[in-house]
């Protein structure tokens, strides 16, 4: 929703301060909810759906039963494993989350005005200035809320705050170009899940064609190319094979991309998926040896690899 004063609403999953692996320096990461991809290994599965969800953390539940009394559809029951929500019946009225003082039930996301988001982002301005950090917009997928994200970037610019975009690259090229071209967008973390479209479709639910077209488009402009770090989640046996990695490295070299971040798989998304009522398959990360080979593959082409995201 856009207001008369130009303020605009974002659907925000979380605002995480002290983010140190999502771009340079100390950053505040704004997670926007909603993503067109369905990556089987997603580490933020609660950010996938574009609508509201209830996060149910059984560890926090004190068993007071207030939610059960509050639910007008009788969709919540106490089971042996703890509270359980019948997600089919639930109409997301959110009343249960209001009576759950223990915060075992909480909305995954909330609507926030850009100005409200900026208020939080500005709290850590001193840390950005002292470390070369800033704001990171992540998700979900930033391009799903491109208009709001662009307003956020503009507002950040007014405060002298640099922005890092964390994107799957899947979305409208014009919107991506518009976001990427802002002067104060200093970094773009661009995900490559698989250069092989068959694998891509199987594990993310979408074709990678648009993603690579968008990447090429950005790389045609040297000023934008410099901002890009390719990010690769590495899932053992899925997208870490020699030919796939070699092709990816060759492509990066051709496009003139200088940095790659490797994110070996971890299974911390599994509990969050369960808490939002879905199931997630468990994968494994590549072995240490393979990880080193992957690093070497990139390094040999003058691309600086960095392994992040290890638990």
């Amino acid at each position: 929703m856009i207001y008369q004063n130009g303020d605009i609403e974002l659907f925000v999953g979380n605002i995480q301060k002290f983010s140190v692996e999502d771009g340079p320096g100390i950053r505040t990461t704004v997670f926007l909810k909603g993503c067109p991809l369905r990556c089987a290994w997603c580490h933020n599965p609660e950010m996938i759906r574009a609508d509201q969800q209830i996060m149910a953390s059984r560890a926090n539940c004190i068993g007071c039963g207030s939610c059960i009394k509050e639910c007008h559809l009788g969709a919540i029951e106490m089971t042996e494993e703890g509270i359980a929500i019948d997600r089919e019946t639930c109409d997301l009225c959110m009343e249960c989350t209001k009576v759950c003082f223990a915060e075992a039930l909480r909305p995954v996301a909330k609507k926030m005005l850009v100005s409200d988001v900026m208020e939080v982002v500005l709290q850590d301005k001193g840390f950005y200035d002292n470390t070369g950090g800033g704001l990171t917009i992540s998700g979900g997928e930033v391009l799903m809320q491109a208009v709001g994200a662009e307003t956020l970037i503009r507002e950040a610019a007014k405060e002298g705050i640099g922005v890092c975009l964390d994107t799957s690259g899947y979305g409208d090229p014009r919107r991506l170009m518009a976001l990427a071209s802002h002067e104060n967008v200093t970094d773009i973390l661009y995900d490559i899940k698989s250069i092989d479209d068959e694998v891509h479709q199987k594990f993310t639910g979408v074709s990678n064609r648009q993603i690579f077209e968008n990447l090429r488009m950005l790389c045609e402009k040297p000023k934008l190319r410099e901002k890009i770090t390719v990010r690769m989640p590495l899932i053992g046996g899925v997208n870490d094979g020699p030919s796939l990695i070699r092709q990816t490295a060759e492509l990066c070299e051709r496009l003139g991309i200088g940095k790659v971040t490797l994110l070996p798989y971890h299974d911390l998304g599994v509990s969050k998926a369960r808490n939002t009522g879905t199931q997630q398959e468990i994968f494994s990360p590549p072995g240490e040896e393979r990880l080193q080979e992957i690093c070497d593959e990139f390094e040999a082409r003058g691309i600086k690899p960095e392994i992040l995201g290890r638990v």
Partner: protein, 790 residues
Amino acid sequence: MLTPRVARLREKYFNTMPAITAERLVLATEAYKQFAGDAVPIFRAKVVNHIMENMTTLIMDDELIVGTATNVYRGANLHPDFQSSSWYISDIDDFSTREKDPYYISPEDKKLILETLPYWEGKAMEDISDQVMPQHIQELESDDIICVGLENGVSGETTCDHEKILTVGIRGYIEECQKNIDEMLPQTMEDQAKVDFWKACIIQAEGLITYAHRMAEEAERQAAACDDPVRKQELLTIAANCRVVPENPPQTFMQALQAVWFVHVYFHIEVCTTACGFGRFDQYMWPFYKKDVIDEKNITREEALEMLECMYLKSCEVYEVRDNWYATAFAGYPMWQILVVGGQTPDGKDASNDLSMLCLEAADDLKTKQPVMALRICEDTPEELIRFGCKMTQEGQANPGFFNDETAIKMAMAKGGTLEEARDWTIVGCIQAAPGGGGADGSPDAGYVNMGKMIEFVLHNGVDPATGKLMGLETGDPRDFKDIEEFKDALKKQIKHHYGLIRTGYNLMQSIHMNRYPVIFASMVTKGCVESGKSVQHGGALHTTAGMYVTGASNLADSIAAVEKCVFEDKDITMDELIHACDTNFEGQERIRQLLLNKPAKYGNDDPHVDGIYREMMHFVADNVQSWADARGGHYAFGIDSQTMNIPHGQVTGALPDGRLAGEPLNDAASPMMGRDLKGPTATVKSVAAMDQAPLQEGALFNLRFDPKGVAGEKGIDTIEGVIRTFFDNGGEHIQINVVDNETLKAAQEEPEKYKGLMVRVAGYMAYFTELDKSAQDTIIYRTAHLSQK
């Protein structure tokens, strides 16, 4: 890299249990009987002198710097003039087995101690304070509602004028005192007191010189019997050093170290002192280092490092025996021997030098608890020095503590320092900035007020729910309070009243110390005392303050915010329900507790409202306390510091409106309540700085904890530095950073509620550790353990 010598000394330190010995006790008792009758300062000086003439001269293998406080390695003395012989006797079998800070006592020492102690029955400061302290204050103390200092300890915390000691030698002080005596024919009581003080100074100064010469003889004796030519030469050097210092100004870096150590160890022989600081070590030692290492190249930098490390290890040898209660309140044998590096010169220029770095390197090599490093940071402090400190922090050393010159200078000026003295500030105590030059006496803890109890008093109209007794002020039935202002006003009345009681008790203790326990040598080397002819106990130092502190400051702010939000604003519960919930420790009312925990804002999350409450309450205390005079003409200064007294004070405190359960520790110093800072370290740092620290003259002790993942690698050093700089930009005075360890994570698994804020951070992913499955937690624990072993 440790040299083999230092590695051996360090190994020995870690493998030796501290021991209580009888020697000083026996010597002091003999001397007490012999010299009773002299004027108090002279009498006390003669007792110490007798010890120095007769105590064992202990020089141990590998040592380069010599001098011990007792006749054994890592020995501790008993001081029955201060501490009551009654608990020495009753606890004597427990010392070696007690859980907190145990001490070994050999059967022979035990026998001697038990034979000697009956003489001291009823004679200790502690016994006297029991007799004279008003009953009500004693009850408040035994109920852990307030704590009053000086009852069984000394007015120590000496950070002396090292520069002068190294310039004129102890002989210079003797000459100065003699000249003062020669020029005065007393005509008043005050004049006579001065002459007595100067005479006492001379006796004790001679005592130290005597001891140094006896150590020289011992070194010569050992050298004569030594077959190893290298060690023989070392012993001869030690002997030569002991003949020069501390009597005369040192000629070499090694002699300067020896002089500093002799003076330092003497403080611990003289009285049962603690928190004696090494001051601005990289400043007063610099001329000797520069001459020997840089200009004349008499020794290499590595040799200087080894000597320095030998002295650091000596600082690990001194102890103050504490009773069971204080061993809990000040857990872990703390001695607060702070060594300051960096900062600026009195004329405002960068003061750091190569020795500053060497001092940090020595601490980094040794990784011992003592001495504690304090790194002063000013605008021009070299990046290299700061980064080295950050690297140590990253490795989980929680050392050095980082100090902000800008804020500390304001504090030192508020304590009476000129701008030049303030820029030369040093630590007197543990984090307290005092005007520099060795002329400031910040008498030890005047006292603490338990904020948890203040809240309970307000909720119960002055009655302590733990005992049912009317202990506090009757501030009215809180059920009749109309708004949060009335609640806060009641709290302020309780708080001010109890700090006032500490003042009453402490001024009384100070008065007794003046008449009975002037500490002669520590006074002599503190600037102002020889000039004025007064001990620090009489206000002889150039600048005199006494510190008052607080436990549970964060619980106080959080509780006010909870009452405001849940009782007055949103009316989720009534005051009566709240009181009932607290009285019953939330039994059967977990839902109310969760409301209080989660709904109102908590200090530590960069929430301006609750941070404002914290600031308002702490400035209220500071504004009052700092306008009060102490007994010796100084004034009280206030700071946010709890040591580990938040644990015993928490034990007696019932459930609080912030959701804290009965008996749980109160929050640590200036940090948020454990598990309540949910927004990460940047938010915590902003909150702690938001209290506006400069007007709190004793500063604020801030422990910050990081997940090692968040500060790994080269970027991690940038991150740590960025956090420190931003904290300082916002006016913070002191920060020390703990990089969280494996044990903490395991504890978080056991008691998730206390670690709610523990974030697991990986790229683009966030989760609260306690919200993860056990298996996921185990993964993190395993990998974190792996990481921390680097």
